[in-house]
Subunit: 212 residues, 2 copies
């Protein structure tokens, strides 16, 4: 039967969409990304494969929507329509006037998030896919990574205006100096990603490596 | 025909191994990692699929050997047998006594390498695979990433002994402060990866973000 643009059909579509997104996240946890397939998602969601392919070109595209949808929606709440790329950019970073304390607070929270499977599994899978699939990678960076990086840059610019950050510092470089090392440990699993590490990165980035 | 442990057979094996590794790198450039298959590698190398599966469990494992082999072997030279994990650890970082200049030199070279397809394509594909395949990821980190990170740490420890680096700095954290941001831009393609960026990272990491 062909879909009709009637209220019932649109409610049914939304139910299918949710079932597909939930199935994608569930199966990612059960199978891992390499073994995740559109077929498995369709079977778990109780829809046909063609229903998925009508809306998404690939399993990575399904997962990206599942991940950004969940991030934007508090448990059980209705997801408001947000302009593209602004989903996670509503809040600002804390500004108590103590840059070091504020950065440590935010980076420790980031460590908790990166170590939590509900974030780690989809974010890691989407990062991996984005590395070798530039189109998906660009969407992931724009929707998921850039909004928090911009918040960091704004917080550093405020500290610069307050005279706490050196005037010749590029806030964007400073942000990457703080976020790059955490992302490196998280993605590559070189060494444990802990609160102590987050604190050490903040302290070293703020004061510098040189003896003076 | 069954292989025999005779000189002819061992030369034939080595020829097949080289043909497989070369085919994997060639096809990676032509097809991209997602479309690379063991079948295509076998066809290009002129061997049977089973020959590949006898030596490697996956396309990622073939690619890791192709990449580390090439890295260890200067153009046209015989590859010497090196103990596992030491392939790239023979050289030391330059030490002219000027830490800033030395780090900029090495990081600019790293930028050149990350922007060169011959490094970028296999290193990016192996990183992507390693993110969702922990066993391959651990091999990649141990064989490819950790040796240069250890060289950086040694250079920073020497600067610390010379009184140039603050005594309370953990050299490993300092290394990641310098290498993490470059890896972040390289892998995630957030912004252009340039010599200017490498210089800015070194300057900011050495002097710190704070105004003092």
């Amino acid at each position: 039967m062909a879909d009709k643009a009637a209220p019932d059909s649109s409610r049914r579509s939304e139910r299918s969409r949710r079932a597909i997104l939930d199935a994608a996240l569930e199966l990612l946890g059960e199978l891992g990304y390499p073994r995740l397939t559109i077929e498995a998602i369709a079977a778990r969601a109780g829809v046909g494969k063609q229903t998925i392919y009508r809306w998404w070109p690939s399993k990575a595209a399904v997962l990206l929507d599942a991940f950004t949808d969940r991030g934007a929606t508090p448990e059980g709440a209705e997801a408001p329509e947000a302009p593209e790329g602004t989903e996670r950019a509503e809040a600002a970073l804390p500004d108590t006037g103590d840059l070091e304390a504020d950065l440590k607070l935010v980076l420790r929270a980031a460590v908790n998030q990166m170590n939590a499977p509900a974030y780690d599994l989809p974010a890691r899978a989407l990062t991996a896919e984005g590395l070798v699939n530039p189109e998906l990678g660009a969407h992931f960076v724009a929707q998921v990574l850039e909004p928090p990086l911009r918040l960091f840059a704004e917080r550093l610019r405020a500290a610069q205006d307050a005279g706490q950050v050196a005037r010749d510092i590029d806030p964007r470089v400073a942000v990457e100096l703080v976020c790059g090392p955490l992302t490196h440990r998280w993605l590559l699993r070189t060494l444990p990603l802990t609160h102590e590490y987050a604190d050490a990165v903040v302290e070293t980035a703020l004061r510098g490596i040189l003896n003076r």
